[in-house]
Amino acid sequence: MSPGAPRGGRFDTRLEARRRAGVRFMWLCRLAVAFGVASLVVLLVSLAADGLPALSFEFLTSYPSRFPERAGIRSAILGSAWMLALVAVMSFPLGVGAALYLEEYAPTNRFTTLLKTNIANLASVPSIVYGILGLAVFVRFLALERSLLAGAATLSLLVLPIVNIAAREAIRAVPDSLREAAYALGATRWQAIRHHVLPAAMPGILSGTILGLSRAGGETAPLLIIGALTFIAFDPLSPMDPFTALPIQIFNWTTDPRGEFHALAAGAIVVLLGVLLMMNAAAILIRNRFER
C-alpha cells in the first residue's frame, strides 16, 4: 500500500484555489459535527419538554393503568432495580473470573486464542439474538417462564463479554512487578491475585461492570423477545415473579396509537436516562479517581 501516491492531473497549481477548497471542505465537516451535536440537543430538549411535566411523586409510585392520569412506573422501577441487581450478581463473578483465567492462568495455546476470539464475537452478537436464546433456553427449556430470573440470565449473557473485556484490560494494566514482588515473598498464584492484582485492577473492573450494567438497564429487545411485555400492577417480590422494566414500559407507552401515553413514556425516559447517565458518570469518576 502506498498511501498518498501523487495523482497527476488533479493537482491545482494555484495555492489560493487549493486553500479555498480546503476551507469549503472544513465547513462541510463542521456541518457534519453540528448535525451530531444538534441531534443530541434536539433529543434531550424534546424529552425534557415532554417528560418533565409528567414527573410527580404519584407517577413514580403508581402502577401502570389504562387511564393515563393514573398510570405510573412503580412496578417498572422495581423491576429494573431487581433486574440490575440480579445481572450484577451473575455477570460480575463470571465476567471477572473468566478475565482472571485468561490473563493470569491461561497458557498461550489455540484454546486460549479461541476463547478470546469467541468472547470478542459474543460482544457483537445482536441483542435480539440473546433474546431468542433466552426464550428457548431460560423461558421454555428451563421453564423459568417470564420471570425476573429468566430476564436477568438473558441480560447477563449479553453483558458478560462487556464486563469480561473491561476486566481483562484492567488486569493487564497491573504491572508485573506487583506479581513478582508477591511471588518473591512466597505467595501462591491465587494469593498474588487476591491480595495484589485484584485490588489494583478493581477500579477498572468496577467501572467496566457499571458500564455493562447501564447497557443492561437500557436493553429492550431481549426482554420483549422473552415475553416481558405484560401488564404488571404489583411489586415483584422474588426472582421468580413476572416483571416489567422501565424500557419495556416506555416501549409499551410509545406504541399507544392515540398518543395519550406519550407524555408518560417521556417521563419514564427522563427517569431511565437520569439513572443511566448517573451510572455512566459514576463509572468515569471511579476510573479517573484511581487512575495513576
Binding site: V23, C29, V33, G95, N118, P126, G218
Partner: protein, 300 residues
Amino acid sequence: MRKSEPGSASRVGERLIGALLFSSGALSIVATVGIVVVLLTESLGFFAEVSPVEFLAGTRWSPDLVPRSFGILPLVNGTLLVAGGAALIALPVGLATAIYLSEFASIRTKRTVKPALEILAGIPTVVYGYFAVTLVTPVLRTLFPGVGVFNAASAAIVVGIMILPMVSSLSEDALSAVPGSLREAAYGVGATRFEVATRIVVPAGLPGIAASFILAISRAIAETIVVTLAAGATPGMTLDLLQSVQTMTAYIVQVSLGDAPSGSIEYRTLFAVGLLLFLITLALNLLSQRMTTRFRESFR
C-alpha cells in the same frame, strides 16, 4: 499480611480456584454453542416444512394468512432499506465528523464534541424509538403529505443518528492511528491541510474506516426497537422509504409478542429468521475484524 501454609490443603485450594476460573471462561463457549444449537435445531424443524429455496428466494412473506408463504425476501428488503437509509446518513456525516475531529478541531472543540457523541452512543434504543415516533414521523408527515404513521424513512433517519457515534469514533481512531510522519512528509512537499487530510490521512486510514462502516451497518441491520416502533409491520418488496416496511428484527418481535406455542411453525419462523440475522451480522463483524487487523498491521 495473611499467613500462608504451603501445605497440600492450599495446593488443592489453588487447583480448585484455577478450575473455577477456567469454567467461567469456558462459559463463553457454552453461550456460543447454545446460540448456534438453539438457532439450528428449531430452524431444522422449520426447514423440514419449508424448503430453504422457498425461504431464501420467495418474495411473499405471509406466515399466518392462508395461503401461507415463507419467502423471506420482503423482510430482508425491509431490513436493507432501513439500514441503507441509515448508512446514507451515518457514513458520510460520521466520516466527516471523524476527519474534522482528527485533523482540524482544536482541543477545546474535541473536548465538547466527543462527550456529546458518547452520550448519543449511550442512549438506549427505546429512547431513539420514542424520538422516531413522536418527533421525526410527525415532521415527515407534515413535509410529505401521504406518509403513513409507519414509514421506513423515519426509522432510517433515527437509526442513522443512532449509529453515527459508532462511525465517527471508530473512524477517528483509525485516522488518529495514521503516523504523524506521513502528514509531515506531505506538508514538507507543500500540501495544504485539506490535501493532507483527504489525500494522505483518509486513504491511509481507509481499512479502519471501512471496518467502522461495516460494523455500523451490521448494527443497523440488528437494530430492533426503532424499526418495530417506527417502520411498522408490513412486509413488502418496496424501495419506497415513505411506506411502511417490516424488518427481520421487527418480525421476530411480532412473533414473540404474539404468544406462538412451542413447536408451531410460527414459533419456528422466529428461529429461522433469527438464524439468518445472526449469520449476516456475524459475517459483517468478522469482515470488520479482519479489516481492523490488516489496518493495524499496515503500520507496524
